[in-house]
Symmetry: C2
Subunit: 580 residues, 2 copies
């Protein structure tokens, strides 16, 4: 061992001990008679003291140590004169007797500090230096802690971690697969799993009863901001259960994680149907850390000859508590915001409820004091509040108002990253209409079971069929989603039919699963959590990239190792493929 | 929940309770007045009793239940008349009140019993039925337990699990890569990792200090028996350590695993150099559960005009204790065995030391009683022993005798699967000569550090350079291997040069690592364990396939899901590739 202690281990109780440390030079201060070096490793920082009077050669050598040099020192632990009470090693320093340079370092392209001067691009290229910074290292340790607590909880609940294969089979349903040409099976391809969905269902058929896995998944999609082509999932499945059992079990998981890793005791997990979430928040993943629910205003707003309202399918508002003092400039900015392509609305109507009891809206021409007071009564507006109203097609308007709601909450500081508000969203629709292919697609995936009572609607009103499907939402992010699965071959066949599969296609792609259903498949269901996202939210951050050791950029490239890259002609030939 | 208890939970203490169980019909015995059904799940078997007198309709329904039907029953726990003391539920049965068929089952293509009638091929095709069998389920649970104990040990030692990427970069060094065409980066490819080697080294440069991961790795090699294109590794790396620290840390891991999972306390971990292992056992992974070390006999065997010995580079023997009573037929079979292509020897000479003190060899013409007694003295042969001698080129002869040694031990029952004998093999050669490419290859990989004193030999006698590399051998299997790495850019450059890399190639393939070495890389080293193999050995089995939930066959195919498979023309076009 090239050290007796780490750089975070020594304190006042070690005074007088002869020790050896190894680490990186964080800082080097030459004060003339004395030189102080901050030595850093994963565990902390220890101050090294070199004295010109005591040993000129050693002190001179210490002065030449550059940032990020790797050194090993031996010496005695002594008490510091000027103590630093903020760190555990702050009361001691090392009187150095021996110094060995283990490796030199060029000057890093950015500072290895909590607040670095390096931009995203350069930090990604030198990710191994970026990870030396505390905030990144803490993120990776948080991720480790979350994984560990997840496993402990699920192990205690009797779940078995089973590894499912990575080289599987391509299926055109869902997102685009990454494929892997097979050399031994000419002209054929494996696919990387988008999730272990079918395998975990087969494990239920196999009697594993409770399965989990923390597992990489792959999707070859055009990368929006903060999406990664490879990402990690906590994947779970249970047999002989109903929806309620899943909700209880995984409420327990999230409760355990927040407790163990963050010391946070969660309140009750609220539940809400998909329909209610859309109606009250305009999204299926509402952030309920703050109120600002939608108020539908058609009744009070229509028939007053204001055409924007009159021709709208939906007139809907939110009450921005205490925002009546927004300046004209702030209000104009809100209007501009809703008109950005990101939101896509045509306008925003507002009404100020002043402290003096009067009110003023942008549509006073159509709505008099009484009308405005009726709005206030419905929306719960009091003196000092600001009512924001949007109108138009139901879906579009809800979505736009939902975006405005989050934007406002952000502005008002209502999205506290240290507060955690979980919410189950239930009863998702089974199907959604796809404009491009002009057919229904599975909202979750084709293995989700419809609510038994809704099955007859498959033929008459497919969009109205609800599924035994649920999402767990945390702070406005979907952190997990799942469903009770179909375990009956005939029902699965019916689903494939409604999803536009021919019998042949269904058999080719999922024949193995339907075969399995004929040999005693138990009722089962499960859930999967986006592990990167969960870690980011628990770390109080927005970007998952900060919680991945070696992320890829928006073009799917690892700019550190410069991948993907060209491969040899020879390799292509062995795989029986040619570039176009 | 579709049950109040599992099928392994109920016992005499539950008598009188009203319970609900769900599970699979294991067996159905119609005894006229009574019908007994064995209900099975992951946790055990519970006997269900149906009584014709008590409820005709129910009992009639029970009689019709086929094997592997999935049912739910409710009823009362009662005491059994004829008890089965071998299982925890053996003293009770359920007087069934209600029966629901949750799913029917076709007759399975093989019996779901510990000893099934199904062959390998059919069991793989219906792997989800195979896994229902106890021995397979136990293997998967053992694997779960080994993973869990591994994580607990490493967590306690301060290791952090960090996930490294799966979509990385192809490097022609080592085995063949699986590659993944990139759609977004036209005409370029990712590669799946053969191991996270470079990433874990970068994590050391990044200051992670102690890293581990239980991780899938991929090699596109022609599959010998019991190799898988995807396999799992326990991958570890540490900074500021020396070889001794790694040996101690991972001795601790294996000790912990055997203790936790098998209840076995391991003795001392023996250590042996690679040279000694080759000399004493003819292999770098000796099985030391039994003795039978090689005895080199050149001195005693040569110069007696027996040409086979005289022209041999090496004459070497093993003492098969107590085997003098081998019949002529048994001895002939040994001779035949060594002549098989698997062993590849030209012959085998033996000498029996009879109980009456006489001896008899196949070469008595050249070696008289005195000579044979001299052999016995050297080889420690006593009355009743059988000396087996081989001669020829050193490498080939050692290898052949090593194979014979294992074969004999197998025959003699010396390879007890419940005994565990670990051994460190140290000081591996750095390089090995490759006949095909007519150059030296890295024996482990190009990042392994040579022993400092041996570096000058790189130019003069490359084969003699020893590495700081070590393997952990358990019961004749290499379960782990690793090395102290190079952390110095110049030394790494020198290594690439000796491995025949041009500067350009080295930069293209490993430039990121050599760059990293310029920014303060700490001394570091690590080890990786073959997780599938480790589980197999701990489970007392030879084949890793039994310990993988969904293994591939020898052609790299998953015959259950029928993968790899064709993919759409459209998919190929998006990836800018064409089939040859």
């Amino acid at each position: 061992m090239l050290r007796t202690h780490t750089c975070g281990a020594l304190n006042i109780s070690n005074i007088g001990e002869e020790i050896t440390l190894s680490g990186w030079v964080q800082k080097n201060r030459d004060l003339g008679g004395m030189t102080f070096v901050d030595l850093r490793d994963r565990y902390g920082i220890t101050q090294l003291a070199f004295n010109m009077d005591f040993n000129i050669a050693l002190c001179t050598a210490a002065r030449k140590l550059g940032r990020e040099f790797v050194i090993q020192i031996s010496g005695k632990v002594i008490e510091r004169i000027s103590k630093n009470k903020n760190i555990s090693t702050g009361e001691i320093e090392i009187e150095v007797r021996e110094l060995t340079i283990l490796n030199k370092s060029k000057l890093p392209p950015f500072t290895i500090e909590n607040d670095t001067d390096g931009g995203e691009e350069i930090r990604m290229k030198y990710r191994y230096l970026d990870i030396r910074r505390n905030p990144v290292q803490e993120n990776l340790m948080l991720r480790h802690d979350v994984a560990k607590a997840t496993r402990n909880y699920l192990d205690n609940q009797g779940f078995i971690e089973v590894e499912t294969p990575y080289l599987i089979k391509s299926t055109p349903e869902g997102a685009r697969d990454f494929v892997v040409p097979s050399r031994m099976n000419e002209r054929q391809f494996y696919a990387l799993p988008q999730s272990p969905q079918t395998f975990k269902q087969l494990l239920m058929v196999a009697g594993i009863d409770k399965y989990y896995q923390i597992v990489k998944c792959f999707r070859d999609e055009d990368l929006r901001a903060d999406r990664q082509p490879e990402f990690t999932q906590i994947d779970c499945e249970m047999s002989f259960i109903e929806q309620e059992d899943i909700l209880i079990t995984f409420e327990g998981l999230i409760r355990h994680l927040l407790k163990e890793v963050k010391g946070v005791e969660l309140n009750e997990f609220l539940r809400m149907t998909y329909d209610a979430a859309m109606q009250l928040y305009g999204t299926d993943k509402p952030d309920i850390r703050f109120d600002m629910q939608f108020i539908e205003m058609n009744e009070l707003c229509q028939g007053k000859e204001f055409e924007v309202f009159d021709r709208a399918e939906l007139v809907v508002a939110i009450n921005a508590k205490g925002c009546t003092n927004y300046t004209r400039k702030q209000l104009d900015k809100l209007v501009d915001f809703v008109k950005t392509p990101q939101v896509g609305a045509t306008g925003l109507i507002y009404c100020k409820y002043n402290e003096d009891g009067t009110s003023k809206s942008t549509v006073d021409r159509f709505f008099d004091e009484d009308a405005r007071n009726a709005w206030a009564a419905k929306a719960g507006c009091e003196k000092g509040d600001l009512l924001l109203i949007m109108a138009g097609g139901t879906q579009k308007t809800r979505k736009a108002l939902g975006t405005l709601r989050l934007h406002l909450a952000e502005e008002l500081g209502l999205r506290n990253p240290e507060e955690f508000a979980p919410l189950w969203v239930l009863d998702f629709p089974l199907l959604k209409w796809d404009e491009d292919s002009e057919r229904y697609h599975a909202m979750h995936h084709p293995f989700t079971s419809p609510k038994p009572n809704d099955i007859p609607l498959l033929d008459t009103d497919p969009a109205a069929v609800r599924a035994n499907a649920y999402d767990l939402v945390l702070n406005g992010n979907e952190i997990g989603g799942g469903s009770i699965r179909i375990h009956d071959k005939d029902l699965q066949k019916l689903m494939f039919k409604h999803l536009g599969f021919s019998d042949k296609q269904a058999k080719e792609q999922f024949g193995f699963l339907m075969d399995a259903f004929e040999y005693g498949a138990p009722p089962h269901g499960g859930i999967a959590f986006g592990f990167d996202r969960l870690c980011a939210i628990m770390g109080g951050k927005e970007s998952i990239r900060d919680f991945i050791a070696f992320p890829k950029n928006n073009a799917g490239r690892d700019i550190m190792i410069d991948s993907p890259s060209d491969i040899d002609e020879e390799q292509l030939k062995e795989l029986n493929i040619r570039l176009l």
